[in-house]
């Protein structure tokens, strides 16, 4: 059994009144890959920030290779041998691979950089990873994302890292690059380094990792050997309830057609998209990043220009402006709450009512008290936790912000709800509430288009699921005729590889 290289025991951290971590313990062993699994907001990133020295824990101990470990900052953590490889790579794009790897650790004689020795060191590391083909003298900005990631890994090796943390490393890689990355990780394992691998792709985790630790709501929900654990057991650990509890079943039956698209085409995506949506129906839209799912919704609301094709809402064709589309009964919840979804500095009341101030205005003047009462009603309906409707949105948690965004489309009484990743970055409890709300809305006769990257929620919540790739809808089927892997292979445009 390999020795424990990193031990975190009872680590806790609070931000103000919010407890991000409440006593988490984990062990990473040399020559093994530990998968750190958890929903967004479970505390993964906080835990890794503590490990990398970016923030200090409130309590608990850490041990690295048998010695107490309490880094004073990211630089100290690197010196001690903990390297992080983030989703967004931290390379200087104009410098070469060698310069990037040795940045801040340059080998020199009296201030003169020993170029030869540095190249030697980088070459050795690449050899170890089986990537001696990687050009080391051209600016790394000219390399592919996958090769840049390798440069990051070499940088970790150059500081003789004992522990390397990969944070969602495959999110921007192609299938082929993922295979290469996995081979590199295998090599790292063999050299005795402890690897912590963060991902929410369970299939991927099962391939690469030896053991797992699941985080939920800031505590370790479980850990152990991956062999012999089923996927649904891990999901149950992640969400803290059985899958049936998470996805409520509210009966809803499709009614008449409310929205129909005919060859809708936008600037880049969507391309030539046609389908019909009925009242009381939830249509899921799956696809990889860049497949054109968000663009489809934006085109429907005319936020992006419509190149050709028609959108018919309840039989009429509204003009291609957001205002006209909203009047016609469409409502969009943006995937980007900060940048687009909500005016962060304005109050809940403002954010809920921007799209429909009519009921509270006479000749342009607002009756703020009437509006307050109405907003309070929606806040109660969705159980938004806030002091008052006057509170600024930016001080709310992600889940509560999402509820405010949902309250807006409910307040404007949209018939067709366009929800773009509505469950991203929010806690499990709120997710369950949102699923229940969607089902209830469908039962009331609303139609919903639900864009999501989580296949499991699409399959459990939707009546039909459309899979998009390169701006086109490749296929629409009833949800029970899809599986996670058939969605994935359809989205990739290939037959299943594994």
């Amino acid at each position: 059994m390999p020795g424990v290289l990193l031990r975190m025991s009872d680590v806790s951290k609070s931000f103000g009144a919010t407890r991000a971590l409440g006593g988490v313990s984990l062990e990473a062993r040399g020559g093994e890959v530990l998968a750190l699994i958890g929903e967004n907001g479970a505390g993964k990133s906080t835990l890794m920030k503590i490990l990398s020295g970016a923030i200090a824990p409130d309590g608990g101990q850490m041990e690295l290779a048998g010695l107490p470990y309490a880094p004073s900052g990211p630089q100290a953590a690197r010196r001690a041998g903990v390297a992080m490889i983030y989703q967004e790579l931290n390379l200087a794009p104009h410098l070469s691979a060698v310069e990037n790897v040795m940045l801040g650790e340059e080998l020199s004689n009296f201030g003169v950089v020993r170029i030869g020795a540095q190249r030697q060191r980088v070459r050795q590391a690449l050899e170890l990873l089986g990537r001696h083909d990687l050009p080391i003298d051209i600016p790394v900005g000219d390399l592919s994302v996958a090769d840049q990631q390798v440069v990051e890994i070499v940088r970790a090796l150059a500081i003789e890292a004992k522990v390397i943390v990969f944070d969602e490393p495959t999110s921007s890689l192609t299938q082929h690059d993922v295979e290469c990355l996995f081979r590199v990780i295998e090599k790292l394992k063999r050299s005795g380094i402890a690897i912590i691998y963060i991902s929410h792709f369970l299939e991927e985790v099962r391939r690469i990792a030896d053991r797992y630790t699941v985080l939920r709501d800031g505590s370790a929900a479980g850990s152990g050997e991956l062999a012999g654990v089923s996927e649904s057991q891990i999901i149950a650990l992640m969400v803290g309830r059985s899958v049936d509890e998470l996805f409520p079943s509210v009966a809803h039956t499709p009614g008449e057609v409310i929205l129909s698209l005919d060859a809708l085409t936008g600037p880049v995506a969507p391309r030539d998209v046609s389908f019909e949506l009925r009242r009381g129906e939830i249509l899921g839209v799956a696809g990889l990043v860049g497949a054109g799912r968000t663009e489809l919704l934006r085109c429907l609301l005319a936020l992006d220009p419509v190149r050709s094709g028609t959108v018919r809402v309840a039989g009429t064709i509204p003009r291609a402006t957001p205002r006209a589309r909203i009047r016609a009964g469409l409502g969009l919840v943006s995937e980007d709450r900060k940048g687009e979804g909500l005016a962060q500095r304005e109050s809940i009341a403002d954010n809920v009512t921007y799209s429909r101030l009519g009921p509270y205005s006479r000749l342009g003047w607002l009756n703020l008290r009437r509006r307050r009462t109405a907003v309070q009603h929606w806040m109660n309906q969705l159980s938004v936790k806030a002091r008052s409707p006057e509170q600024q949105v930016e001080h709310l948690s992600g889940g509560n912000q999402q509820k405010v965004a949902l309250a807006r489309v409910l307040h404007q009484d949209a018939d067709v709800l366009l929800l773009d990743e509505p469950t991203r970055g929010i806690d499990v409890g709120t997710k369950a509430e949102i699923y229940r709300l969607m089902a209830a809305l469908a039962a009331e006769g609303k139609a919903i288009i639900f864009v999501s990257s989580y296949f499991s929620e699409l399959l459990s919540v939707c009546d039909r699921v459309a899979v998009m790739a390169r701006g086109r809808v490749r296929e629409i089927r009833p949800a029970d005729q899809w599986t996670s892997s058939s969605i994935l292979s359809c989205a990739l445009g290939v037959e299943p590889a594994l």
Partner: protein, 340 residues
């Protein structure tokens, strides 16, 4: 419904917090500045000229021009815009007014022409920004020079000077430091600024339009997502701001009784400074009319106080410059603490 009866207690406290943050900060700064100069003035052997009604009348009259233009600038800055042409537009309006008076048009027509010119200039700014999708800074940097050129054409490259008989009495008295009637306390122009300020303040808070202005400045994408007609709103904001610049032009003419095409150059800066000292954020979504008025007053109080203390002009300028930086720094620290 029982819970609704309990609710108002909290929001009131919350609203009090907003008030404290947005208005009381600049207001305390004003009180502080007045206090410092009063004490310093009284320590002088021949002091006692600063904290007098006469000086207060003077300060208000002198700050009225900047203050009225800053009302519109506040709306522009809340909508995440900027208007660098405010100074030259003001001079353009004053020149137009002088030209109409000199050509023997009635005062009413002349004033209407001046205000109309301001609105038109603002409308052009707003339209160019919305339709060309060029940032406000650049568009108004361009129109700043264009309006200066137009004013010079109207003035035939020199000042437009109507005969004294052509300038009605009320226009002269508009911003006269000496009040005609004791009961008025301050010049009529000062009261006009106050009236307009109350109106703009109410419009920003209690109208659909006002909410839309904040929405656009706070997050334009959200505004679009909610179906707010961003470009119509933006053109309206600049047009209304142009109206206030027109009033500022009227004020300027009333003080100089000539239309000087070049008199507005550089005047946009104190106007913008008033908004910023008053808590307006150049990234949009924040600003208040009360803050802006306070900001305009702070600058004038400093300059009047320095005069009372016989400090030369350069000292005033250094102090005002420092106040601008300090105001924004304090505001940012306060905001950071809030978000943390």
């Amino acid at each position: 419904m029982a819970s609704n009866n309990l609710q108002p207690a909290l929001p009131l406290a919350q609203r009090g917090g907003d008030l404290l943050r947005n208005v009381l900060g600049p207001f305390l700064a004003l009180v502080f500045v007045v206090g410092v100069f009063t004490i310093a003035d009284n320590l002088q052997t021949d002091g006692g000229r600063f904290a007098t009604l006469k000086n207060a009348q003077n300060v208000l009259v002198q700050s009225a021009t900047v203050a009225v233009a800053a009302l519109g600038m506040t709306m522009i800055i809340i909508s995440a815009g900027i208007d660098l042409s405010a100074g030259t537009t003001m001079a353009l309006c004053a020149t137009v007014l002088a030209w109409f008076l000199r050509e023997n048009y009635s005062p009413a027509v002349s004033v209407a022409a001046a205000l109309g010119t301001g609105c038109l200039a603002g409308f052009c700014n707003g339209t160019l920004i919305s339709r060309l999708r060029v940032v406000p800074f650049i568009v108004t940097l361009g129109t700043m020079t264009i309006y200066l050129g137009l004013a010079k054409i109207i003035g035939n490259n020199t000042m437009v000077r109507p005969f004294p008989a052509q300038v009605p009495e009320w226009m002269r008295e508009l911003l006269s430091p000496r009040v005609q009637h004791e009961w008025m306390l301050f010049a009529p122009g000062v009261w006009l600024v106050l009236l307009l300020a109350i109106i703009v303040s109410a419009v920003l808070r209690y109208t659909v339009f006002g909410r839309h202005v904040f929405a656009i400045g706070s997050n334009e994408s959200t505004a679009r997502l909610c179906g707010i007609n961003v470009w119509v709103t933006r053109i309206a904001v600049y047009t209304i701001a142009g109206f206030f610049v027109g009033v500022a032009g009227l004020f300027q003419f009333s003080r100089l009784t000539v239309g000087d095409p070049t008199s507005g150059t550089g005047k946009e800066l104190p106007i913008i400074a008033a908004v910023v000292i008053g808590g307006g954020s150049l990234s949009g979504g924040r600003g208040s009319i009360l803050g802006t008025l306070t900001g305009a007053l702070i600058m004038q109080v400093i300059s009047s106080g320095c005069t009372a203390l016989r400090q030369p002009n350069p000292i005033q300028e250094i102090i005002i410059g420092s106040i601008i930086i300090a105001a924004v720094t304090v505001d940012q620290i306060r905001q950071r603490r809030q978000t943390a």
